[in-house]
């Protein structure tokens, strides 16, 4: 194997490791921009993973699996929305509840699928472009979810910062009282944002069980939902930075594998703990800069909105 194709192989695996993080984080970014903190990403993601796998096994089509994963992510997010937006339940606790419920449900549903070989989603080569050496296979011979992740970053950027809709979402997240006085329905905007986050988490789960490792393994999200939450903070709520952050994390987790294979001498378990350690370090670095955090954090993040009070 030439050096170039070796680098290409590593980069390809980095894309695979980064995509689920990117999908989940870009969804949560919109949720948090609307002022809602949904800590249930891990739970929505794993339910998406198991439902995506189940629907694929039942129908033979991974595309139906993807749709099923999105729907189940949205269904989970609606539970969260009802509790936090209608019943004013504590968002932190409800997010935790969503994760615990999601892990439980996925374990129960997935039990029938343990050990079954899955159907992997095939890459779609974009004509002409995919023939470009080196760049072609990396960027233009990917599966639909990788393309979708790039598309989502661009779409979220334009909607949030270049459109009226984005202005409303950010207004609701920064000052729900004023947004309400202007006649916008805070609850409705937040519901839509939460559902978008659910769909993205579902997609991220589908990526894990249809592409990353095309099978069902209990607890296969392995904390990725939480890392996605950290990525949103790391990105200071900006879509382009989420993209960079997700790829940095993907790189850390893949290089850690390669270092293990190269026999770097450190115990494998300690290398496996590296992505989690990196998350903590990144959070520290970001929070050290207090003004940066203050300027970008949606002012109403995590605060319940009670109309007319």
């Amino acid at each position: 194997m030439s050096d170039l194709s070796m680098i290409e192989a590593v980069l390809l695996t980095i894309i695979t490791a980064s995509t689920p993080l990117l999908l989940a984080a870009i969804g949560e970014l919109v949720v948090e921009r609307s002022g809602v903190l949904n800590l249930g990403v891990e739970g929505m993601m794993i339910v998406g993973a198991v439902m995506g796998f189940a629907a694929t096994q039942a129908t033979g089509s991974p595309y139906i699996g993807i749709v099923a994963a999105m729907i189940s992510g949205v269904a989970m997010s609606l539970l969260f929305g009802f509790l936090t937006l209608n019943l004013m339940a504590n968002q932190v606790a409800t997010g935790l509840a969503l994760t615990i419920l999601g892990l439980g449900l996925s374990g129960m549903i997935g039990e029938a699928f343990i050990g079954q070989p899955g159907i992997s989603l095939k890459p779609i080569a974009i004509p002409v472009l995919s023939a470009i050496p080196f760049i072609g296979p990396l960027l233009f011979n990917q599966d639909i979810l990788v393309y979708a992740s790039y598309g989502l970053v661009i779409a979220v950027y334009f909607v949030l910062f270049r459109s009226r809709t984005g202005l409303i979402i950010r207004a609701v997240g920064d000052n729900h009282g004023s947004a309400h006085s202007l006649g916008y329905s805070v609850i409705q905007v937040r519901y839509l944002a939460v559902m978008f986050g659910g769909a993205c988490s579902g997609l991220a789960g589908a990526y894990l069980s249809l592409i990353y490792t095309p099978q069902w393994v209990e607890g296969m999200t392995a904390g990725r939902g939480w890392i996605a939450l950290a990525l949103v903070v790391f990105a200071s709520w900006r879509p382009a930075r989420v993209l960079i952050g997700a790829y940095l994390f993907g790189a850390v987790s893949i290089l850690q594998f390669h270092a293990q294979a190269a026999g770097i001498g450190l115990p494998t378990q300690l290398m496996s703990a590296l992505p989690y350690l990196a998350t903590i370090i990144v959070l520290i670095m970001i929070s050290r800069n207090k003004t940066l955090a203050k300027v970008n954090t949606p002012a109403c993040l995590g605060k319940p909105f009670v109309p007319d009070r």
């Binding site: 504590n90 615990i100 374990g107 939450l229 703990a273 903590i280």
Partner: protein
Amino acid sequence: MRIELEKRAEHSQLMTVVSPLIAIGLTLVCGSILFVSMGYNPIDALYAYFIEPLTTSWSIEELLVKAGPLVLIAVGLSVCFLSNSWNIGAEGQFTMGALAGSIIPVLFFDFTSPLALPLMILMGILGGMAWAFIPAFLKVRFGTNEILTSLMLVYIAQYILDFLVRGPWRDPDGFNFPESRIFDAAHVLPKIGEGRLHIGMIFAVLAVLVVWWMLSRTLKGFEIKVMGETPRAGRFAGFSSNGVVWFGFLVSGGLAGLAGMAEVSGSIEQLTPVISPGYGFTAIIVAFLGRLNPIGIMFAGLLLGLSYIGGESAQVSLGLTDKVTRVFQGMLLFFVLACDTLILYRFKFASSAKSMKEAGNV
């Protein structure tokens, strides 16, 4: 007709007691629907789950063995949650407490003096505290989100445990199984009675009493509650918000560490790659179901302990998958949070026609 929420002038005393009961009831109803959808008779399944385990003295003992760590961890978490800090990494602090508490039985197994056990208990507490120190320090020093850091530390702790039992701490006579040596009798917590029940349960009862006394009878308890509910008022009163973070994290970390040490030394009697069926996370449910009140937590811990035993019993008697347990626990937390709304708000049924008429009269 619309249903609106109207804020109550005061917390409803009645609902404080009734809402967890409604939540349990709703969980049982949804659980029955779940059982029917899985093709089981719901009466049989609920019986196997929640009644059958209470019919033998063996399983009642087992229930207390499971409830012990849950109550111990949850009591600590309640202190943290009341002060509005979010330590959700108790599972990691449990693991580190178990590891620190195992230093003597694994590395200094010859040290069998009567001092060994008290030292192990102390080290377990310190181990849990040390792991909770990290998110507390990061929050106080840099303002780093404690939810994410404490959770990440759970994964790191599990990898450290895995590394130790497969590597340096593996039993040299253990045929390469990933297990530490079996603890010497001098390093095992004394049993209560003939069965598996050990004095870890007494730690839990003591923790309940001490924390209850601290929260309801001391200035520290008042400080925690004020800083949790109205931090601004608390700061005017001269309370330190950093101090409350430290206190909450160190108490919850220490108790989780003690629970971990007690589980390893009292129940498993050696280190294995998996030492907890998710006690640290289930304890979050226990804390909320117990309404962050130590006495309530004691009952909640027994109920959640029952869900573990019930899962095992239903698996044996009906062949029901024990994964249902986690679903039950998740549903319960959901309903508890939903029913908490009843304490702060009352439902108002407002027909849109009527409200329009009212608007016209004004």
